[in-house]
Amino acid sequence: MNQTSFDRSRIFLVKTEINALVEAELWDAITDKNLADWEAEWRPETEKLLKELNREGIETGLWPQSRHWDWRAKTVEIQERITNQCFSVVCENQTQAMMITELTHRAKIESQKNAHLVYVEFLEAAPWNRSELIARPTRFGGCGSILVKAAIEYSIAEGFEGRIGLHSLPQANDFYGNKLKMTDLGADSRYQNLRYFEMTQEQAKRFISEEH
């Protein structure tokens, strides 16, 4: 995985420490740099978090559900597939979030049943950007929205009119259902009973609209 050629887009995140916008980049790739950040920065931070949760006596069922994800293995697996597209958010020279999308899923909402959409296979924020169960300030806010926008723009570019779908980790149901107002199609027994959320063309258009 080298990926020296990829597009960078100028974006902005809220830096919590100063409560102000800072410039960042959206990359349409997951590169060696991103994977190095995952190994050297994300994983040790996640380990620290798990120790903290354990000390606090939080039951393991409530621990971060993506804690076993191996991003290097995931990207190696998909690197030959043309149906997968990766994205990463980088700020202050550190990877803040990553996403893998794919194109073979079909829509489930009745009004757009079986239409093509961009499916978010995996999406994760860096551990310091997640408040988890122990109240602590996050470093950067807005990564999730940026990546969802990227998925929508990718959907439009592929001719899928902005339709996207994903299976939310239980701790993120509030974000996708209540904040992004995606359509909740309920627990999916084929995906470990994770809730499946989908956006129609209209919902996607509203989300990426500059009118807010």
Binding site: S9, R10, F12, L13, V14, L21, D28, E59, T60, G61, Q65, S66, H68, D70, K74, V76, E77, N84, A97, I100, T104, H105, V120, E121, F122, L123, E124, A125, N129, R130, S131, E132, G141, G142, C143, G144, S145, I146, L147, K149, E153, Y154, A157, L166, H167, S168, L169, Q171, A172, D174, F175, Y176, K179, S189, R190, Y191, Q192, L194, E210, H212
Partner: protein, 158 residues
């Protein structure tokens, strides 16, 4: 692919997001990403063999489900589901803990459980064959013991 986005849009969405959890994707650490049809290939037999192995190994250790949960530091409810529900997908950590207590390969146990799709399925087929040889009675019969010995041999590190 480039996107265009304004400061105002980013700020508005970031304030709305406000530190919310955003993770999406299956919980298992399976690096093999496939769409739904590929996941359906994890066979019923493999799940049954996995369930049978957990039950037999537990009984060979002479412990209850509760005691095994304590030894492996896993949720007792999840262990109950593993032994009783053919469609239950265990947590990755649970499989790791069980593999340590049982003395078998963590990766192979994940493949047998259906949590991952092993590239080499020969050990899965062997495990299914051994599991099929055992019946379901309280104490291990010599045949069950032989089947269990075979399962352990197949699932051990090589």
């Amino acid at each position: 692919m480039q996107i265009k986005v304004t400061r105002e849009w980013c700020e508005s969405k970031a304030r709305l997001e406000a530190g919310a959890e955003i993770g999406a994707g299956i919980i298992a650490a399976d690096p093999i990403i496939g769409h739904v049809d590929e996941r359906d290939h994890a066979t019923e037999e493999s799940h049954q063999a996995f369930r049978r192995f957990v039950e037999l190994r537990r009984r060979s250790l002479g412990v209850s489900i509760e005691k095994l949960a304590e030894q492996a530091d896993v949720d007792v409810g999840e262990l109950l589901n593993i032994e009783s529900d053919a469609h239950f997908l265990p947590e990755t950590r649970t499989l790791y803990q069980l593999s340590q207590v049982f003395g078998v390969s963590h990766q192979k146990l994940m493949g047998l459980s259906g949590l991952t799709q092993p590239k080499d399925v020969s050990y899965v087929k062997e495990a299914v064959r051994y599991a099929a040889k055992s019946g379901s009675i309280e104490e291990l019969t010599p045949e069950e013991q032989a089947a269990l010995d075979g399962l352990i041999s197949v699932l051990s590190e090589k």
